[in-house]
C-alpha cells in the first residue's frame, strides 16, 4: 500500500477526482493549503504600495492505494492535473504500514 500525496492547482481538483474514480479508487482526503515551489509568489498592489504574496493557494490530495494500482493512479493524477504551466504541483509517494476501517475492523487492502 502506498500513500499518494499530490499538491495541485485548485481548479484541477474535479478533473483529478474524476480520473481517480474512473480507476475504481474509492475515497480521498482533500486539504486547502498554501505554499510555493518554483512558481514562487506574485506581487499585488494596495493603496499605492506593492506587496509580495509568497504563498499561493493549492489543494493537497491524499489517497492510499494498493501496490499494483500505484502507477496507474500516478499517471491519472499527472494527466488530469497538468496544464504545462509552472505551478502545476508535485506528487509524493510514501509507504503505508497498515490500514484499518473503523466501522468493520477490516485491515490492509481490504480496508481501502
Amino acid at each position: 500500500m502506498k500513500l499518494i500525496t499530490a499538491i495541485i492547482k485548485p481548479f484541477k481538483l474535479e478533473e483529478v477526482r474524476t480520473a481517480l474514480t474512473d480507476l475504481g479508487i474509492q475515497g480521498m482526503t482533500v486539504t486547502e493549503v498554501k505554499g510555493y515551489g518554483r512558481q514562487k509568489g506574485h506581487t499585488e498592489i494596495y493603496r499605492g504600495a506593492e506587496y509580495a504574496v509568497s504563498f499561493l493557494p493549492k489543494v493537497k490530495i491524499e489517497v492510499v492505494v494498493s501496490g499494483d494500482s500505484v502507477n496507474k493512479a500516478l499517471s491519472a493524477i499527472q494527466d488530469a492535473a497538468k496544464t504545462g504551466q509552472i505551478g502545476d504541483g508535485k506528487i509524493f509517494v510514501s509507504p503505508i504500514e497498515n490500514t484499518i476501517r473503523i466501522r468493520t475492523g477490516e485491515a490492509d487492502e481490504a480496508a481501502l
Binding site: 499585488e44 498592489i45 494596495y46 493603496r47 499605492g48 504600495a49 506593492e50 506587496y51
Partner: protein
C-alpha cells in the same frame, strides 16, 4: 504596461466628455429661463414651515445613515481580526455624539454666540409641540445639526483603526462631539466671530469677502481630519506597517463591504449638502436644493474618474480603494460650495479631490503617518481644497477670507486635539499591548471575532 495609445485614447475621451457637458449645460440654461417667466404664487407660511421641517428631517436621517456608510467602509478596509472592534467604535461614537450634542454641544454652538467664540453651557431644550416659533421645527433643526456632529466623529475612527484601545478613543469622541466640534462650529454657523455680523463684518472689512463654508468642508470634514491626524501622530503606526524601511500594505478584509459603505456615504451626502440649504419652502430654495444634488453627484463622479485614470497611469492598474477615496474626496471638495458651481466646475472641483487622494496617500506613508482608510487625504486635504475653491465660483468669497477660516479652525482643533490625545496617552494610554495588537483587537478588546466561522474560532476541534 501602459502604452502611448492608451494615454491618447484617454485624452480624447476627456475632450469628448467636456464637449458634451458644455453643450448640455447651454440647453439646461434655456429651460430654466422659460420656467422663470411664469412663476406661481408663493406658498403660505405654514406650508413653508412643513416643507422646511421635512427637509431637515429627511436630510437629517440621510446624514444619520452615513454612520452606516462609515462603519461599512471601515469594516471593509481593516483586517478580519479588527472588524468587530471597528463596528463597535462606529456604533458607540454615533450614540455618544448624539447625547453630547444634546447635553452641551448644540447650545455651545448656536445659543447666544453673538459674534463671539462660544455659546452657552446648557442642554438643548426641545419646545412643546405646536409651540415652535420660526420657519421650521426646532427639534428638526437639532436633529439635522446633531448628525453633522456625529459625522465629524466618524471621520476620526477610520484613521486610527487597528491599533487604538476602545475606551480612550471613546473618551476623545466625548470631548470632540461635546466641545471641540461645537465651539469651532459656533464661530461660523453659530453666528460667531467668523460669520457675517448683523450690520458689518470685520472679515469683510479686512479681506473684502466673507468666510464661506456651505455644508462643512472645513467645519465638519477638516475638523474630523485634523483630530484624526493629531491622533495618528500620537498613536503611531500599526506594528510592522513601516518595518524594514518600506511600506508594508495591510489589505482590507472586504472590498464589497467597503464599496457598500462608499455608496451609503454618497447617498447620505445628498442630505448633507442638500439639507444645508436649510429651507425648501420657496421655488428658489427648492431649485437650489435640486441644483445642489446635481453638483454633489457630479463632484463625486469627477473624483471617481480622476482617481480611476490616475491610478491606472501611475500604477498600471486601477486601485479600487483609492477610487472609493476619490469619490469621497470629490464629495468633500464640493461640500464647501455645492450651489454656485456650474456642472463642469463641480466635476472639476471633485476631480481635483480625487487627484489629492492619489498623491496624498503615498505621501502620508512616506512620512510614516498610518491612515488606515485614507481619511486624512479625503476629509482634511480635500476639505481644505474645497474650502479654498469656493471663490472660484462664488463672488461673495475670497481666498484671504477662506484662508482665515481654514487656518483659525485648524489652529483651534489641532491645539485641542494635542491636549486631549496627550492627556489620554499619559494617563490611560492609547495603544493595546503588542501581543493584543497582533492577535487583533476583536479578540483583545471585544472578545468576539467578526467572522467566527472563518477565523481562529473556526478551527476548534470537535464542534
Amino acid at each position: 504596461m501602459k502604452t502611448p495609445q492608451t494615454s491618447r485614447w484617454l485624452v480624447a475621451s476627456y475632450a469628448v466628455a467636456a464637449l458634451t457637458i458644455f453643450t448640455s449645460g447651454a440647453a439646461l440654461a434655456q429651460d430654466a429661463a422659460a420656467a422663470a417667466a411664469e412663476a406661481p404664487a408663493a406658498a403660505s407660511a405654514s406650508t413653508q414651515y412643513v416643507f422646511n421641517t421635512m427637509l431637515f428631517l429627511i436630510g437629517g436621517f440621510l446624514v444619520m445613515f452615513m454612520a452606516a456608510g462609515f462603519a461599512m467602509l471601515e469594516a471593509g478596509l481593516v483586517r478580519t481580526k479588527n472588524v468587530s472592534m471597528q463596528c463597535t467604535k462606529n456604533i458607540a461614537l454615533y450614540a455618544i455624539g448624539g447625547i453630547m450634542f444634546w447635553l452641551v454641544g448644540y447650545n455651545l454652538m448656536y445659543d447666544a454666540v453673538n459674534g463671539g467664540f462660544i455659546g452657552t453651557f446648557a442642554p438643548k431644550v426641545i419646545p412643546p409641540t405646536d409651540a415652535d416659533p420660526g420657519s421650521y421645527a426646532a427639534a428638526s433643526d437639532w436633529f439635522f445639526q446633531m448628525v453633522f456632529c456625529a459625522t465629524t466623529a466618524s471621520i476620526v475612527s477610520g484613521t486610527l483603526a487597528e491599533r487604538i484601545k476602545l475606551w480612550p478613543f471613546l473618551l476623545f469622541i466625548v470631548v470632540l462631539t461635546g466641545f471641540i466640534y461645537p465651539i469651532q462650529g459656533a464661530w461660523k454657523w453659530g453666528a460667531g466671530w467668523l460669520a457675517p455680523g448683523t450690520d458689518t463684518s470685520w472679515i469683510k472689512d479686512v479681506t473684502g469677502g466673507e468666510f464661506q463654508d456651505f455644508a462643512g468642508s472645513t467645519l465638519v470634514h477638516s475638523v474630523g481630519g485634523w483630530a484624526a491626524l493629531v491622533g495618528a501622530i500620537f498613536l503611531g503606526a500599526r506594528h510592522g506597517k513601516y518595518e524594514g524601511g518600506r511600506v508594508n500594505p495591510m489589505p482590507g478584509s472586504s472590498i464589497p463591504l467597503a464599496t457598500l459603505g462608499l455608496f451609503i456615504l454618497w447617498l447620505g451626502w445628498f442630505g448633507f449638502n442638500g439639507g444645508s440649504q436649510l429651507a425648501i419652502g420657496t421655488i428658489s430654495d427648492a431649485s437650489s436644493v435640486a441644483r445642489i444634488f446635481v453638483n454633489t453627484n457630479l463632484a463625486a463622479a469627477g473624483g471617481v474618474v480622476s482617481a480611476l485614470i490616475l491610478t491606472q497611469l501611475i500604477y498600471g492598474k486601477v486601485d479600487v480603494t483609492m477610487v472609493m477615496n476619490g469619490a469621497l474626496a470629490g464629495l468633500v471638495s464640493i461640500t464647501a460650495e455645492p450651489l454656485t458651481p456650474t456642472p463642469i466646475w463641480a466635476i472639476g472641483i471633485g476631480a481635483v479631490g480625487g487627484l489629492i487622494v492619489v498623491f496624498a496617500v503615498p505621501l502620508l506613508d512616506k512620512i510614516r503617518i498610518d491612515d488606515v482608510v485614507g481619511a486624512i487625504p479625503v476629509h482634511l486635504m480635500a476639505g481644505i481644497w474645497g474650502t479654498m475653491a469656493v471663490p472660484l465660483t462664488n463672488s461673495d468669497a475670497n481666498f484671504m477670507a477662506q484662508a482665515i477660516g481654514v487656518g483659525s479652525i485648524a489652529a483651534f482643533v489641532i491645539l485641542a486635539s494635542v491636549v486631549v490625545w496627550g492627556i489620554l496617552r499619559v494617563t490611560i494610554g492609547l495603544r493595546p499591548t503588542l501581543e493584543d495588537e497582533l492577535a487583533g483587537l476583536d479578540k483583545a478588546e471585544i472578545g468576539l471575532e467578526a467572522y467566527p466561522e472563518f477565523g481562529s474560532g473556526s478551527q476548534r476541534v470537535g464542534l
